[in-house]
């Protein structure tokens, strides 16, 4: 069967989806009596119009890159890891324990260990569902989503118990010391003479996210394990016939996926909050599914999709600010419409586009 060109697959189809999504959102905004063009303007200006807005956009995007990659890696082995939420939450414990265990002299020393802590905890949380899938055939969708709840309960137990800061009634740990403070965009760019908002939470975790994206690309398309993961995802039976162990692939893929989801806590817990709080993931694990879908499970697409979702999150908040008639729930509706069109209704656009390209090709030949 003819396939559409790569550029159309990666750019054209998502772009048409996006236009449709904005059109539908525009109708919603219109229905409550506001100007949709104003709304789009506020969202875009809010997300990109200032270094502060940009800082928040990229901060959120960092989260979505991590969780998007986590979902994508599992997708390639045809595993649907919807436990990114729980894996990221539990990884926060790893970060907190590592950072609070020592009086770190410098962040550059603390960061590698925090990454290990986050990765190990995230991977550990993915390991049990992976093991159950590989050895017992318990469906990974069910087990990973249940582990989200167990993760939330575990966090609650620890943050109300041994990790709790006795001076507050919020379920949160004590603040991390200054030695573990990750440089923010402001601190990195100021010596270079670039003024960047001081309050924006963007920090060097963004670079870590880009590094992870490159790493995932390398893993999937340049290593033997990546080949095995993709082969397993294409056809489990064929992969088995070729001597690929399904147990090994399922478990290794999920460990990588969980560790990637865990990197989110480097950005949020270590980079932003500088303390462990209860619900710091805030749905980023689930947004990661949409990001991976929209990015076609390719790291490059995921980075782009994550930027878009970062813009939506930050722009949505600005919209709330500028248009009091629009409530928090309305912003959610707009964001949901965009996810619906770009993720779930993907084939609605893809099929006509494929037909169109087929017709063009036939015409040419």
């Amino acid at each position: 069967m003819d396939k559409i060109p790569r550029w159309a697959d990666i750019f054209l189809v998502p772009f048409i989806n996006l236009v449709l999504a904005f059109a539908a959102s525009g109708l919603v905004v219109l229905a409550i009596g506001e100007n949709p063009f104003d709304a789009i303007y506020y969202m875009i200006r809010g997300a990109l119009g200032s270094t502060s807005g940009l800082g928040y956009t990229l901060y959120y995007a960092t989260n979505y890159i991590f969780t998007g990659l986590a979902v994508a890696v599992a997708f390639h082995a045809r595993l649907f890891n919807i436990g990114g939420e729980g894996q990221a939450a539990v990884s926060g414990i790893g970060v907190a324990v590592v950072v609070l265990a020592f009086d770190w002299p410098h962040w550059a020393l603390a960061l590698p260990f925090a990454i290990i802590g986050a990765g190990v905890m995230g991977a550990a949380w993915a390991f049990i569902p992976a093991y159950l899938q590989a050895k017992r055939g318990s469906h990974i969708v069910i087990t990973t989503i249940m582990f989200n709840f167990i993760g939330a309960a575990l966090m609650g137990f620890l943050l109300n118990g041994i990790l709790k800061n006795p001076n507050t009634q919020n379920a949160e740990s004590i603040g991390f010391g200054p030695g573990a403070h990750l440089p923010t965009a402001h601190e990195v760019l100021a010596p270079l003479g670039i003024a960047f908002s001081k309050s924006a939470p963007l920090n060097i975790s963004f670079l870590l996210a880009l590094l992870c994206a490159a790493g995932v690309w390398f893993l999937l398309w340049r290593t033997r394990l990546g080949y095995q993961i993709r082969a397993f995802g294409q056809s489990e039976a064929a992969a088995k016939y070729a001597g690929i162990s399904s147990v090994k692939i399922i478990i290794l893929t999920m460990l990588i996926s969980g560790a990637l989801a865990g990197m989110l806590s480097i950005n949020v817990v270590m980079g932003e909050q500088e303390r462990l709080i209860k619900e710091f993931v805030e749905g980023a694990g689930f947004v990661g599914i949409a990001v991976a879908l929209m990015g076609r499970s390719h790291p490059f697409g995921i980075v782009l999709a994550a930027l878009l979702f970062g813009m939506l999150t930050q722009g949505g908040f600005e919209l709330l600010w500028e248009m009091p008639a629009i409530s928090r729930e309305m912003v959610l509706v707009i964001q949901a419409l965009i996810i619906l069109f770009t993720g779930a209704l993907d084939n609605m656009v893809r099929d006509p586009v494929e037909k169109l390209f087929r017709r063009i090709r036939k015409g040419r030949i």
């Binding site: 928040y56 137990f157 109300n160 507050t168 309050s199 949020v268 908040f317 928090r328």
Partner: protein, 329 residues
């Protein structure tokens, strides 16, 4: 093109409106949302009442993520909003770092203490109000067993529970108090189904008055109590009207008064520690036409006596949060 025109038009309109809203008060609602039928909603009522009575305008925002706490605080402060009021203890750590950056802006935080020169910390004596409803519960109970259902298991809710137990035991030393917390995560504030289940479990253990200090979860508690024909006690807002004849009374916590006061004082907001207790009407029990029949004269006399004694200092109700400990269970 009409699209570019619309955008350009918007840009020019924006330049004009951007300078408005100087020194208006502002309020930030917590993640529960403005319309949570409880804490945040009470706060928004206070803000509305201020707007109506003073004719002034205020700005408000509902948060949808943790990262937005700092963002919202800074934006309001930078836009010149004064004072900036926030609802809930979860703001404490953020306010602690943000407040020193804006020494000319006054902040007010409800339900938590943040020790900064430009911050007013409003706390309520929930233990005193809970003591009163504890007295009422002990008086109304026939089985000698009463229940308490908390929302999220945090010291604040234990403070409610502890005050309640003290009130019950002071009235009937042999009474038994069954305590349950709905959960340990913020979702425990909004789980009416689990609230109803816990209520039924407590009824099975012979409880015939149940006090819900659980935000939205309490709706389920009150419903189950009404279904099973026992008494319940509401919290935060006056919830007597929800099930007339079943809701014995409500422990009202005047969050609206806290917001109204802060807004009224405007930029001259007095800072520091601010306690709203029985004496200044910050907490109280609720008596209206919906519970007049069941809230008998005997109960009222006992509760009012306790209230007078607490105000005069004759009864000291132990505050759980003062030492994270409750003298009696």
């Amino acid at each position: 093109m009409s699209f570019t025109k619309a955008i350009l038009g918007t840009a020019s309109a924006l330049a004009i409106t951007a300078t408005a809203a100087l020194s208006d008060p502002a309020i930030i609602y917590d993640l529960g949302g403005k319309f949570d039928k409880s804490f945040n909603e009470a706060a928004s009522k206070g803000a509305d009442r201020w707007a109506k009575e003073s004719g002034g305008k205020y700005r408000e925002i509902e948060l949808s993520s943790e990262a937005q706490r700092e963002q919202a605080l800074r934006r309001f402060a930078e836009d010149g909003a004064n004072p900036v009021v926030m609802t809930g203890f979860a703001f404490a750590s953020t306010l602690d770092t943000v407040a020193p950056d804006y020494p000319d802006t006054k902040f007010a935080i409800i339900d938590m203490v943040v020790d900064k020169p430009n911050v007013r910390s409003v706390v309520f004596s929930e233990h005193e109000g809970s003591y009163l409803v504890g007295v009422a519960a002990a008086m109304a109970s026939k089985t000698g067993t009463v229940g308490f259902i908390g929302g999220m298991d945090v010291p604040l809710i234990r403070k409610f529970a502890c005050g309640y137990v003290q009130g019950v035991k002071a009235t009937n030393p042999d009474a038994k108090v069954i305590q349950n917390m709905t959960g340990t995560t913020p979702t425990a504030w909004n789980d009416p189904v689990k609230g109803a289940e816990l209520t039924k479990a407590q009824i099975a253990q012979k409880a015939d008055v149940v006090y819900a200090a659980a935000g939205g979860t309490g709706v389920g508690v009150l419903q189950a109590a009404a279904d099973e024909g026992i008494y319940s006690i509401g919290v935060d807002s006056n919830q007597n009207y929800l099930h007339p004849g079943s809701v014995l009374t409500s422990m009202v916590k005047r969050v609206d008064v806290a917001v109204f006061d802060a807004f009224s004082q405007g930029a001259d907001l007095t800072t520091g520690f601010h306690v709203l207790g029985l004496a200044n009407g910050g907490v109280d029990y609720a008596l209206d036409e919906y519970n007049a029949k069941i809230f008998t004269a005997d109960i009222k006399a006992a509760v009012d006596a306790a209230k007078a004694d607490i105000i005069s200092g004759k009864i000291k109700v132990h505050d759980y949060m003062s030492d994270n400990n409750c003298p009696i269970e």
